[in-house]
């Protein structure tokens, strides 16, 4: 390659890489960190672009101010997969349609808002509103394999996955009534002591993350939802039990659409000292009657265990218990043992609802970064 061309290619690669990386932090941002719910904004104008992507669908509209100057606003209005489930389509609104938007402005970026309502001005029709709650799946006992063991995935010949968790934040069992936002922002920071039995440094870090409105959450950089957080993803998860291989795959609908491996072949817990710590750790599982008990170690320190900002160290040891109490309900319990971070072991948990007859759909955290925000 000629030096000049080599230089040009190198420069282009650098610029593209820089653009993508600069955009990434916006893509998976928790709502509290991204938007300031104490403020409101009203916008009206023609739609100039529609980004029908996950995890956040966006409309772009040209808004004219009093001085007749146009500014282009990015309006987030939902998750494309959820919107599709509710019957909305990309073609629900067209380029050039004039819409009125009431929303919450972004904290740091100008010209960006989260829509509370989108109205097609011409007809007055409200767009992208959630459909009435879908009927719960019919009650049925937990499905089983021919050998009598509980199936964690779909019943034979059926489809389905695990969807909505009953809690979006991990806290100590006894503290279940702490007031907080959906993404774990405490209403009263003085409740931090009740969230978990923190060591002093861990409490200081947790409070710092809370005070800074969770803005440094690694999820914002599309890093994987390690630890218990993988079971609180809005996009669900699935178990693929490969009994013949002595392992269970946990496929994640959220995060980077990655997977975790739980070995059930009787191998001992642990990993070689030189092994690279990871987001999902090294997991071994065994069945205690109808409960799958999974021990995991070998975690890295690059993720938050919960959206609220729970810290941990590489000493983290999780014991998870998965109990499918019926077809539609998975009880998840986790014991957190990290003596470098917490003064004692502690436990939390939630239930997860089965989504019958559907499969996890494509979701890439990075999608917004590569479409919406590279402008």
């Amino acid at each position: 390659m000629k030096p000049k061309m080599k230089y040009t290619v190198f420069s282009v690669v650098i610029v593209v890489l820089w653009s993508l990386l600069a955009a990434t932090p916006m893509s998976g941002q928790p709502l509290s960190a991204a938007y300031d719910s104490s403020r409101q904004v009203k916008l009206q104008g023609p739609v100039t672009r529609i980004d029908w992507v996950n995890p956040h669908a966006f409309l772009f509209i040209d808004v004219k101010d009093a001085a007749s100057t146009f500014t282009n606003w990015a309006v987030e209005f939902g998750n494309a997969l959820e919107l599709e489930k509710d019957g909305w389509k990309r073609s629900t609104v067209h380029i050039g349609d004039v819409v009125s938007v009431e929303g919450i402005p972004a904290r740091t970026e100008s010209r960006r808002a989260l829509a509370k309502s989108v109205v097609l001005t011409r007809t007055g029709k409200k767009l992208f509103t959630p459909a009435p709650r879908r009927a719960a799946a019919l009650p049925a006992p937990a499905p089983r394999w021919p050998d009598g063991q509980i199936r964690l995935g779909p019943p034979a010949g059926k489809k389905g996955y695990w969807g909505v968790p009953s809690a979006k934040v991990l806290i100590e069992k006894a503290a279940a009534s702490i007031p907080m936002s959906d993404d774990g922002l405490l209403v009263n920071l003085a409740d931090a002591d009740r969230v978990a039995p923190f060591q002093p440094w861990a409490k200081a870090v947790f409070e710092h993350r809370q005070r800074t409105i969770l803005k440094d959450d690694p999820i914002m950089r599309c890093l994987p939802p390690g630890g218990p957080r993988q079971f609180q993803s809005a996009n669900g998860f699935q178990f693929v039990e490969q009994k013949e291989l002595g392992r269970i795959l946990v496929l994640l609908g959220g995060g980077d659409r990655n997977w975790r491996m739980i070995y059930t072949d009787g191998r001992p817990l642990g990993q070689p000292d030189e092994a690279v710590p990871s987001y999902y750790g090294s997991s071994v599982g065994h069945w205690e009657k109808d409960t799958l008990v999974v021990d995991s170690v070998g975690y890295n320190e690059k993720f938050w265990m919960s959206s609220s900002g729970l810290p941990h160290t590489e000493a983290l040891h999780l014991t998870e218990r998965f109990t499918r109490t019926d077809l539609n309900t998975l009880k998840y319990e986790v014991t957190v043992d990290d003596p470098r971070t917490y003064t004692k072991s502690w436990a939390g948990g939630w239930t997860v609802q089965w989504v019958p007859d559907q499969e996890i759909q494509e979701y890439f955290c990075e999608d917004n970064a590569e479409t919406t925000f590279v402008r």
Partner: protein, 133 residues
């Protein structure tokens, strides 16, 4: 020459975005810190801290290598992120030299969090500036 400077700039710009993507979210002091100390802004001495948290105490080393100095104690006030570090070294004549660094952690959530403050080494007093590598 200009191309080289531009390449270097581009590389550094990319690295500045890449590194936060691999942040360490555990104990805020754990890791390698690099910087310098000195009595004036022009008289500076290279400084590296390697710190580790074992669940009970923070231990570590100043300037790891043949002239490493073991850290004797680390005290952190988590209410205001101030840190005091003490160590004992020897000068070229073999005489004991006490080192005390007292400073504050800033930008705690950042991978490149900073630790700055005052430094005393024997009779010499100055300041130090460290950034987590």
């Amino acid at each position: 020459m200009r191309k080289r400077v531009l390449h270097l700039f581009c590389f550094l710009a990319c690295v500045s975005f890449l590194v936060p993507a691999f942040a360490q979210e555990g104990h805020p002091l754990t890791g390698t810190w690099a910087g310098d100390w000195g009595p004036t802004s022009t008289q500076r001495n290279h400084l590296t801290f390697v710190l580790n948290w074992d669940g009970k105490t923070i231990s570590g080393t100043i300037n790891p290598g043949p002239d490493a100095i073991p850290i004797a104690s680390v005290f952190v006030d988590w209410t205001n992120w101030t840190v005091r570090i003490e160590a004992d070294s020897k000068d070229q004549a073999g005489k004991a030299v006490h080192i005390a660094a007292e400073g504050k952690l800033d930008d705690v959530s950042s991978y490149h969090r900073r630790f700055t403050g005052t430094w005393s080494q024997g009779t010499v007093k100055g300041d130090f500036r460290l950034t987590r590598d």
